[in-house]
Symmetry: C2
Subunit: 343 residues, 2 copies
């Protein structure tokens, strides 16, 4: 698997990453929200023991105990999608195991005892699934997962019961957002058991026009079908987005180019940039590169910027809490640096 933030991507590719998430619980133990701190830490130990079975595992992975981390550090992992907002709410009894290349993470005592995530660059969900499946098999040799013959894997939240599998992809959909077609897309997806959400999962707004498409249904459906559905859905949405872009270019050529180039000019020159504006401007520049309107620019750096301009990751560079205005200034500095380097 390849890290979506640092890997090379094609300029015309609209899928940033694809992700597999598997939910598992240990048999005959209460779900995490009912666990006392001590019991929760035992679960962590149990999963760690099952996971670190070989020295190569110890070489490639690290465990992070949330109670040992300051809020800003854990938030920076959140900003890279390696952990979820939920796990931060129970940081006294949660941990995560992370591969050094940051493509695999195992959240322990989030909603479920185990949430295994494999994130791959671009639309490569099969690779991510194979990796998740391998790790799941390995863990299952050591751990007794809660499994019901009729329902399948038992999870804390009924929406995950069954396969416990969620397959998702992160897409850049500025034209469908601009045209307001995104709500129509959402409606259609709901009908086929899929859903679309903003950048940081459930309930979050679509910042920077980046959306996450995933299966809503985990019960009564085969893993293979979940993967097929995602691939088909993503391919369809990407087509819709491309058509919306073509229409935009046909009807509003100058307005579109104006928006794209102004965004470029502001990113290259601004002295202060708040997070929301920065995401919007980066989305326009990304679209400009994807559509070949901005030439001689490779969009790889935009994924790095997407993560590094987030508040917590930004503050890690300074090793201290920055006031909002300072953050806006340093965000602008960082953006300018990247823009200069990627001309």
């Amino acid at each position: 698997m390849e890290n979506w933030i640092t890997s090379e991507i094609k300029n015309e590719d609209l899928v940033l990453s694809s992700r597999i998430r598997i939910a598992r619980n240990i048999k005959s133990l209460p779900f995490p929200h009912k666990l006392k701190e001590e019991e929760a830490k035992k679960v962590i130990k149990e999963i760690e023991d099952a996971f670190y079975t070989s020295s190569s595992m110890e070489e490639d992975f690290n465990t992070f105990y949330l109670w040992e981390m300051d809020g800003n550090l854990s938030n920076s992992y959140l900003e890279r999608h390696l952990i979820s907002p939920n796990i931060l709410a129970t940081s006294n009894k949660s941990a995560f195991i992370l591969s050094k290349d940051e493509t695999v993470s195992l959240m322990i005592n989030e909603e479920d005892h185990l949430r295994l995530q494999c994130i791959n660059a671009g639309m490569n969900i099969r690779e991510a699934y194979d990796m998740a499946d391998k790790i799941d098999d390995m863990l299952e040799e050591q751990l007794d997962f809660a499994f019901d013959e009729t329902l399948g894997y038992v999870t804390a939240c009924p929406t995950n019961v069954g396969t416990g599998l969620r397959a998702s992809a992160m897409l850049h959909l500025p034209a469908l957002t601009l045209n307001d077609e995104i709500n129509e897309v959402l409606k259609v997806l709901t009908q086929v058991g899929m859903t679309i959400r903003g950048l940081y999962g459930e309930g979050s707004r679509a910042e920077g026009n980046i959306y996450q498409v995933s299966n809503q249904i985990t019960l009564g459906i085969k893993e293979e079908d979940i993967l097929n559905n995602l691939e088909a859905t993503v391919s369809q949405i990407v087509n819709q987005e491309r058509k919306a872009r073509e229409r935009l270019l046909k009807q509003y050529k100058y307005e579109l180019e104006d928006k794209i180039y102004r965004s470029l000019g502001i990113l290259e020159n601004a002295v202060m940039l708040n997070s929301k504006e920065c995401l919007d401007l980066m989305s326009s520049v990304r679209m400009g590169i994807e559509m070949g309107i901005i030439k001689d620019m490779n969009k790889n750096f935009l994924n790095k910027l997407l993560v590094e301009t987030q508040s917590a990751t930004l503050q890690r560079k300074f090793n201290r809490v920055l006031a909002p205005k300072e953050r806006d200034i340093e965000r602008a500095n960082l953006v300018k640096k990247y823009m200069r380097e990627n001309q």
Copy 2:
């Protein structure tokens, strides 16, 4: 005298140009608004005959008859401040004589039979006055101007009676505008018989934060005092503007730099620019250069752009009427060209 649009100016200088305007009428003839077309053309002939007394005059000056010019062409002279909006309303019986370097213009049959203008670059009102005085003397040798022993020169509008002299300067006052102190300045100026107006004279808004300061009173005051008053007033306003800028820089350093650099970025990259936004952005960049925030950029080209981005002047390049959207596109192209050349 030097043409304010093309001459070299110091980056820190806030006065774009200084202008003398003298109003004269020919004795025993009705004021222009009462003249029939034929009579009006006789006035034009009379003034031309008085003016073109030597071959050097004929070499350095041209007469433009407004009834022979298309509206866009005459508007482009308006945009360079060489004629007034008033004269365009009576184009069937008006003309103007213009020096080839475009520093001297004589409007014939505007509000008065003769309006002589001398425009000089920067704050150099004395030179402009000397030139106007010389031409006035020369004309007075040939023409019999309406003059009342008690009142002085008689003019169509009572506000010009007396010296018939208006001395003005064009200033860039973005900080006083931003701070909303400009209205206070106006109040004080009114008390000392001066006034401040937007870029295109009476009644016009202060587009691009460029204002025209001039004497309101022409009666019962000596020419010398009018010039002294203007110089003192301009120097005072320039000081106020500089102090307002210092305060801005002290209190809102990053916000100010952000505004300036974003404006630069947009001017360098926009694909469409309407006239108002363009003036605002150019004002920010001008302020940035004047304050030394933008370095390695000479602001001379901004005066050229100020005129060339105006609709009529812009359209002259294409020799046809452009639709508003086309104008915005061509304005952006022109701005980008100048920005590239002046990096």
